[in-house]
């Protein structure tokens, strides 16, 4: 395509598409925006429009940030306006240097929402704070795992959120969840988070080989074992991969771990033997990838 002709076509497209949005690149006057954002007597759609217009350069205007924080923290205000204020603030946190002066007030406002009656906003804020590695929030999450009556979120979600800033002292708690079978979702999350815990290697090996276990837990255990104990994993995984009475998706996952994980593919005949009896496209595909990943020298040693 001729670049000059392309430029002409693109200019026409821009003129047609961008028109109304272009004005939004220039923020609304801060005073006007602040007046609308904070006025609970104004229609919600007008206040949302004001937040929309003010958000683009909010860090340059402390009064805009202050009004967004005030709306966000006001439990009596409209949930949609509060969520929009959170969105605008979140967006501006990516302008790290400019936002730094507002960070303490922002975090304090968020912490105040951890007990907010609005569930949707509360759950969003729990994650935002967890992503900030906020110690107060981490403590609240741990408290909730020990005492469900004070839990901010369900156990599975609490574990996920703690995973943003996991510490070694959390491993014991995680092992407890990995060892129980009353909450499979929390158990699987715990297995994911324990993938660097050397003390859990035996647990992973047991789960992987136990056909009575949940398939998701077996697959996660296989992936974890492949990085924790590559040699042991290879041995166990090859046995399962060659067992055509075991689950095909699990076999395919283990082949993927062998070809793209830390445990290197060693048996060149493994793919060939799987392909001879593969009954699902995924198993076939995983075996083909294994064959491509297997080193050439391994092809000469087919017995194993």
């Amino acid at each position: 395509m001729d670049p000059e002709e392309y430029r002409r076509q693109y200019a026409t497209e821009i003129a047609q598409v961008a028109g109304p949005d272009q004005a939004a690149m220039t923020a609304m006057e801060p005073d006007a925006a602040v007046a609308l954002i904070g006025d609970t007597g104004t229609a919600v759609d007008l206040r949302l429009a004001a937040i929309d217009a003010a958000r683009f350069d909010a860090t340059s205007h402390p009064e805009v940030i202050a009004s967004l924080l005030a709306v966000l923290g006001n439990r009596a205000d409209e949930p949609a306006v509060r969520r929009a204020a959170l969105g605008a603030l979140r967006e501006n946190t990516f302008r790290v240097a400019a936002f730094r002066q507002y960070a303490p007030d922002y975090l304090n406002t968020l912490r105040g929402i951890l007990d907010d009656p609005n569930q949707q906003l509360r759950e969003r804020v729990v994650e935002v704070l967890a992503l900030e590695n906020d110690e107060y929030t981490q403590r609240r999450l741990l408290d909730g795992l020990e005492n469900p009556e004070v839990a901010l979120v369900a156990p599975q979600r609490a574990l996920q959120l703690l995973g943003y800033d996991l510490h070694a002292e959390h491993y014991e708690l995680l092992r407890d969840f990995a060892g129980q079978d009353t909450d499979p979702a929390a158990r699987n999350t715990a297995l994911r988070l324990l993938a660097a815990d050397g003390a859990s290697a035996d647990l992973f090996a047991r789960i992987l080989q136990d056909r009575s276990q949940d398939l998701g837990a077996r697959a996660l255990s296989g992936v974890a074992l492949s990085s924790l104990a590559p040699a042991e994993f290879s041995s166990v995984a090859e046995e399962i991969v060659l067992d055509d009475t075991d689950d095909d998706d699990l076999r395919a996952t283990l082949l993927t771990a062998l070809s793209h994980g830390t445990a290197r593919p060693e048996r060149a005949d493994l793919a060939e033997r799987v392909l001879a009896h593969a009954s699902t496209p995924e198993l076939t595909r995983a075996a083909e990838q294994y064959a491509q990943a297997a080193p050439a020298e391994a092809e000469e040693t087919t017995d194993g």
């Binding site: 395509m1 949005d21 272009q22 929309d52 979140r90 302008r95 790290v96 994911r192 990838q289």
Partner: protein
């Protein structure tokens, strides 16, 4: 015995140099074995028959592009210089699927056919399955379940390094370097790979699938097919990618949990103001908005790189900047409309170190003195067989003219499928 020719592409005869973009790439063609010829050999240089990509040729870097070139090759081995580029709109889909063909004009005989690749960053939603799979395999190998080089990228983009890369004018140049750094490491694993971009202002039904970047699982973790290498993705000693979109990726552009959508491409590219008034709003929206259209790892600076989607998102951010540069002709680093802070830190009217045109960028410069972060996980900047630029310690300014349009400039080895090369 036949006439022997030697073609140098990107200053090398090695296969590693045979990767092209839309930008003019220097070539030299010479007779290595004249086979008894005593007169100059008349040749035509063109795209070989059956090529998937298309090529264009120029006698000078800013000359008129043509589908073929005529040259007279001296038999004494003196080289004829010319430039080759991929024809805009016709990239390769596989390694070596395009040929530079040299024919004897008198006899019509093909004297040489050299395989090349028009290697272009593409829209992830339009990738062929083989292109998609090569990218996934390469990035999974780079990560190696959290024990590979990918960890360096993870360590580079964390909370205590934010100020090097965010919040000021260097935001876009720094991330351009960061993407190129990762892409070069991927190309060491598979030279045909480029980073695809996720166009977040459009639906992407082919991106958020179990075969590519994953669907949304009920657990909050992305779900993958058993054969997808991301199925075993591990970072920080944890398995999986926590990600839940607030939008329906198959039918909607990205938006946050309140329906606030990312700013559209036309608004960014059509913005006529200088870079200094573009970069701030751009960093908030669409960049921040795109991150914030998910819950999970990708939604915060400190954890975003745990999700490989980060690189597709930022590839689109970089594409938008590149397209704005092309549409508004903003490639001259000294033009204040292209970049505001054209000095160095510590001089008059400078901004924070690392955000001025002549500043080198952390981590590639290895500078761990205050106010830089205490460690530098990626140093030096990786070299490439197609260019030695931007060098081991890139400056902010070295990221501006990525196509090598300026005097004595050279391309950086990447281009986008919808951003042409257009010399003045």
């Amino acid at each position: 015995m036949a006439i022997g020719l030697e073609l140098t592409i990107n200053d090398t005869t090695d296969q590693g140099g045979r990767y092209l973009t839309w930008a003019a790439t220097p070539c030299q063609l010479r007779v290595s074995a004249p086979d008894g010829a005593v007169q100059p050999i008349p040749v035509t240089i063109s795209t070989g028959a059956g090529s998937r990509g298309r090529l264009e040729f120029r006698m000078s870097r800013d000359g008129q592009a043509a589908g073929q070139l005529r040259a007279e090759l001296p038999v004494d081995g003196e080289a004829v210089a010319f430039f080759v580029s991929g024809r805009f709109g016709s990239p390769s889909v596989d390694d070596g699927d395009t040929h530079i063909e040299i024919r004897n004009r008198d006899t019509g005989a093909v004297l040489s056919s050299v395989p090349v690749m028009v290697r272009i960053r593409k829209n992830a939603n339009l990738l062929r399955p083989a292109e998609r799979d090569r990218f996934l395999s390469a990035i999974a190998r780079l990560n190696n379940q959290g024990q590979g080089l990918y960890q360096n990228y993870r360590d580079t983009h964390v909370d205590n390094t934010r100020l090097e890369a965010h919040g000021r004018h260097g935001f876009l140049p720094w991330h351009r370097a960061y993407l190129l750094d990762l892409e070069r490491e991927l190309q060491r694993i598979d030279p045909a790979v480029t980073i695809p971009y996720w166009r977040f202002d459009q639906p992407a039904p082919n991106v958020f699938t179990a075969a590519f970047l994953g669907t949304t699982g009920t657990s909050g973790f992305a779900r993958f097919l058993p054969s997808n290498p991301l199925r075993v993705w591990t970072t920080d000693g944890q398995i999986g990618i926590l990600r839940r979109p607030f939008f329906e990726p198959g039918t909607s552009a990205a938006h946050d949990d309140n329906g606030q959508r990312v700013r559209r491409e036309a608004v960014i590219v059509g913005f006529r103001g200088p870079f200094s008034t573009l970069t701030g709003p751009f960093e908030s929206n669409p960049h921040g908005s795109a991150h914030d259209s998910f819950s999970g790892h990708v939604s915060a600076i400190g954890s975003a790189v745990r999700d490989p989607l980060f690189f597709l998102l930022h590839c689109n951010v970089d594409r938008l900047w590149a397209k704005w540069q092309w549409f508004n002709r903003r490639f001259d680093p000294q033009d204040p409309g292209t970049y505001q802070f054209n000095g160095a830190a510590g001089t008059a009217n400078a901004t924070r170190i690392g955000h001025n045109l002549r500043d080198t960028m952390w981590p590639w410069n290895g500078d761990t003195r205050n106010p830089r972060p205490a460690t530098a996980p990626r140093t030096p900047f990786p070299d490439s067989p197609v260019t030695h630029l931007p060098g081991p310690a890139p400056t902010v300014g070295s990221m501006i003219d990525f196509q090598g349009l300026g005097p004595d400039a050279h391309h950086l080895g990447f281009d986008y499928d919808d951003v042409p090369y257009q010399p003045e």
